[in-house]
Amino acid sequence: MKPNPFSKDTNHAMSSDERAYEADPLVPQLDATLGPDSVQVPRDLAHRINIATRFDLAAIAARHADVYASFLPIPMKMLRSAAAASIIMLVGVGWWSLINPLPSNLSRTAPYDMARLKVEVDALSPLRAGSSMDRDLAALSVKVDQALGGSSRSDVSQSLVEHDLLNWESQLNASGGELF
């Protein structure tokens, strides 16, 4: 296990009760028996979580974007006055934003990630042209679409691991970025 680079709880002075607990001879045994090092962690767990969170952020941002977009045609159909439509649209979007604020980190990263990931996974096909990976990549592309539609995070990240695509960024860089 990698050591935690962040400091532990150093702000807290231990009470006598806590010191008594820590001094108990059973404590080192419990550390060894129950500690995180006693658990076999799945290979690439952190990488898979990173990918999964990107998928989920993309899906969340996409849902927000869809709802924002849905405000556009409704007032135009219902009202003939462009000014009135604008006001209603602004009020509607403002109201919706108030009750459904989009976290700043999503608005900055997720749409870019969603588009980039989709393009990059699709773009791996030419890199593997003629190989047995073609069909798998097609299936994976469907998986990505499903992910953006809310399929299981584990399924998608597991697919990326199974298809050896966790290093897709380096593969694409090695290709000189011509695919983009």
Binding site: M1, K2, N4, P5, F6, S7, K8, D9, N11, H12, M14, S15, D17, E18, A20, Y21, D24, L26, V27, Q29, L30, D31, A32, T33, L34, G35, P36, D37, S38, V39, Q40, V41, P42, L45, A46, R48, I49, N50, A52, T53, D56, L57, I60, P103, S104, N105, L106, R108, T109, S152, R153, S154, S157
Partner: protein, 205 residues
């Protein structure tokens, strides 16, 4: 962009991650994913579910990171999210969370093995891991200790997992559970006393 210098600076890393910095976010995942996974696995005994809950936990964290104000309580917040995610999933599945049940063959499961086999973290020269008989004895002691932990009440067991698997201090455990420090400490001491009695009854102490 330069990678963030996060050594000992959780607050700065959290700010960067909340602003959408992928390197900072990756640092947080690297630092905490193993402990989150281990904590959930200890409580549910299901590796697939533990990974799913770990992923869901980090999704919830990143979705709310911009609203989170670091006041030295990130770890209690993180592990509380993980426990809530597990509880909600268990409710959704309409069944009770199963503690790690070593009496039903779980001693053969891979998560119980590494520390006592080739991944032994003791140094070769410490004289302990070189004696097969002594090592076998320690394996047996560890299994009996896990059995004794599994027999504790849920509240006591949860404190032990948060303390020894998640690595929280008692103050952080109290924050995470939303209970007074004294209550949490009392549970810790009670758990140790029960463990000692169980091990003594079985001739180990």
């Amino acid at each position: 962009m330069e990678p963030p210098k996060a050594e000992g600076n959780l607050q700065q890393t959290l700010k960067l991650a909340a602003a959408g910095d992928p390197e900072a976010w990756r640092e947080l995942i690297d630092a905490y994913s193993t402990r989150v996974f281990a904590l959930v696995l200890r409580q549910c005994g299901d590796r697939d579910l533990a990974e799913e809950i770990a992923q869901a936990t980090f999704v919830q964290v990143v979705s709310n990171l911009s609203k989170y104000k670091e006041l030295g309580k990130f770890e209690p917040w993180l592990f509380r999210i993980a426990m809530n995610q597990l509880r909600d999933e268990m409710r959704r599945r309409k069944r009770q969370a199963q503690p790690t049940d070593l009496s039903q063959g779980r001693s053969d499961s891979d998560e119980d093995a590494p520390i006592w086999d080739g991944n032994d973290h003791r140094t070769p020269g410490d004289g302990r891991s070189q004696d097969p008989l002594a090592q076998a004895s320690r394996v047996e002691e560890a299994q009996l200790l896990k059995l004794a932990v599994a027999e504790l009440g849920e509240a006591d067991r949860q404190v032990l997992y948060l303390r020894h698997t998640a690595g929280l201090s008692f103050a952080q455990i109290a924050q995470s559970l939303g209970e007074p420090l004294g209550t949490v400490l009392a549970r810790g001491h009670r758990a140790l006393a029960k463990l000692r009695k169980t091990l003594t009854d079985r001739g180990l102490q």
